[in-house]
């Protein structure tokens, strides 16, 4: 089967600043692929190479089996795209923008775009100028879905969306998955990608450092737990448990901070033997996900 996205040695330098370097990436049809990395890691650069807005310094990429530099128009016809630095025509209303982009695609039936706008709770009758950044993002998503593309390439789709609307977006992602369509989405938020993606590629400093299924990522993910007890607890109670990477004791033993890799089972069972007042699980940090895969030195240069 033709991969939805395939890059080989894809490299982009801006003058002598590295955007991405020797990127080898493969996204299968029908999967939701999360492209994870801190800001400036090269996510947008990669995506803009796929859409032929910028041209590779070396290497090549194919989208839906089509070369990005030679067949960009056919790619655009079949792909829905949400720009990372989203800006749309201020003087149009949301509805006018959808009609315009629909016309450029020879699509007159805007029901899909309207459906997405409704799910995301967007008022299409107002001008884009009057939209909040969240509303602009919603319109950006509606236009990306407009022609029911077989592949969606979304650059930071949830940025600016409030939590309730993010949930609505996750529902849209599930629809896409159920329909067997493909989605490539970038994010700098690990829990979000864990939640919606099937596989994850981690990019840092323009280099792809790991590709893993979400299950693998979760296995290796490091959780940070803060346990508050009603009694003093010795660090030694946790130090030898499976998966525990570090233990720090605060507040004379009443608070214990833990870093745990993989399953929390042993830690929770041990904690339950004491008088446990509160348990805070800090959301996995992206840096920690990197550490799980790859101990890179700090300060890897990155550019976007």
């Amino acid at each position: 089967m033709t991969p939805a996205i395939h890059t080989s040695n894809l490299t982009k330098y801006y003058a002598d600043i590295c955007g991405v370097e020797n990127l080898d990436l493969e996204v299968e049809p029908g999967e939701i692929f999360g492209f994870l990395g801190p800001n400036g890691a090269g996510k947008s650069t990669t995506i803009r190479l796929l859409l032929d807005f910028i041209r590779p310094t070396s290497g090549s990429a194919e989208v839906l089996g089509l070369a990005t530099t030679a067949d960009s128009i056919e790619i655009h016809r079949r792909v829905g795209y949400l720009p990372g630095e989203l800006a749309l025509y201020d003087r149009m209303t949301g509805d006018e923008l959808l009609r315009y982009f629909g016309a450029l695609r020879d699509v007159t039936d805007l029901s899909e775009a309207h459906r997405v706008a409704e799910i995301l709770d967007l008022d299409l009758t107002r001008t884009i100028r009057s939209y909040s950044s969240g509303n602009r993002q919603k319109l950006g998503l509606a236009q990306a879905f407009l022609h029911r593309p077989e592949l969606l390439i979304l650059d930071e789709p949830t940025s600016g969306l409030d939590p309730l609307i993010q949930q609505a977006f996750y529902d849209l992602v599930n629809d896409v998955r159920a329909e067997g369509r493909t989605m490539f989405l970038s994010s700098h938020v690990l829990p979000e990608v864990e939640r919606i993606a099937d596989r994850v590629g981690i990019i840092r400093g323009g280099n792809l450092v790991a590709v893993a299924s979400v299950a693998e990522l979760k296995d290796k993910a490091v959780h940070r737990l803060e346990l508050r007890f009603g009694e003093a607890v010795a660090a030694s109670a946790f130090e030898s448990l499976a998966g525990v990477r570090s233990v720090a004791v605060d507040d004379d033993g009443y608070v214990i901070d833990l870093q745990v890799e993989g399953s929390l089972d042993a830690v929770i069972k041990t904690a339950a033997r004491y008088e446990l007042i509160n348990l805070i699980s800090h959301e996995g940090e992206l840096e920690e996900a990197f550490l799980a895969f790859y101990s890179a030195p700090e300060g890897v240069p990155g550019a976007e």
């Binding site: 910028i54 720009p83 989203l86 982009f101």
Partner: protein, 267 residues
């Protein structure tokens, strides 16, 4: 109206355009309306003009006071060699800039190009919209002069009015496509406006002042203004010189297509 990039580009102008037309009609109308007064006081004005430095007269777009005091010479000087043409030129520059550099400056280019529209069509449909609206703007001069000519008896010919109006379109398009080209090559809005406007002003003065110094007189042939004003189409009708302006326009448009296809689009 939003069924193509061409139509959308025109739609973008729906609010301000009428004022460009109003300005153009006003300038032309006022100029013509003053003709009877000018003629009545011809002796005084002639004396005034003859005392002007030679460079001033040349910048007015008339060879001498005698030419200025003929109907075609006067209208040519006040409309085609100055304000009227400047209105058309700056309108065309604003459209040429908005097409690519403006779109990139507002960061909307990514979303636009994600549609299945080739880059050369972005350039060419913008060019077509600029051509249409610039032509209509210059037509305001054409219509005003055609209507006013018999009323104030200014002695213009229909062929002359038509040729000069076409010349104004081509002159404006020369600078408009220059802006389109710079935008296509660089994507930088301020640079595009600066270079295109700067070139307009500079070439206007070169065309007006170069003839005063024999050694640099030839440089006026490098300016688009020369190819409109030197053959004086308002008086003489259509001449091949206007084709030079057409050539400038087509070359700039071709370079714009080439330039925009090959480069990276700014975020």
């Amino acid at each position: 109206m939003l069924s193509s990039l061409f139509r959308k580009t025109i739609w973008d102008r729906r609010r301000g355009y009428v004022w460009w037309i109003v300005g153009m009609v006003a300038i032309t109308g006022i100029t013509v309306a003053f003709w009877p007064t000018l003629q009545r006081d011809a002796a005084v004005i002639s004396e005034l003009l003859e005392n002007l430095p030679e460079g001033m007269m040349s910048l007015f777009g008339a060879e001498d006071a005698g030419a200025f005091l003929t109907g075609p010479g006067y209208v040519n000087s006040r409309v085609f060699a100055s304000v009227g043409s400047f209105i058309a030129i700056f309108f065309a520059i604003s459209m040429g800039t908005a097409a690519i550099a403006g779109e990139e400056d507002k960061r909307t280019m990514d979303a636009l190009l994600a549609n299945p529209i080739p880059r050369h069509r972005v350039v060419l449909e913008s060019f077509a919209a600029m051509t249409l609206l610039t032509a209509l703007l210059a037509s305001a001069v054409w219509v005003t002069l055609l209507l006013a000519n018999p009323i104030v008896d200014i002695g213009l010919s229909i062929a002359g009015i038509t040729a000069a109006s076409i010349g104004m379109i081509l002159l404006a398009l020369s600078f408009g496509t220059l802006a389109l080209m710079i935008g296509a090559l660089t994507g930088k809005r301020s640079l595009t406006i600066g270079v295109a406007s700067g070139t307009t002003i500079a070439t206007f003065f070169i065309n007006g002042l170069a003839p005063l110094i024999d050694s640099i007189k030839w440089t006026q042939k490098l300016t688009p203004f020369y190819w409109l004003l030197d053959p004086n189409p308002l008086k003489n009708g259509f001449g091949w010189q206007l084709l030079v302006l057409l050539a400038i326009t087509l070359v700039c448009a071709a370079v714009a297509v080439w330039g925009f296809r090959r480069r990276d689009v700014a975020v």
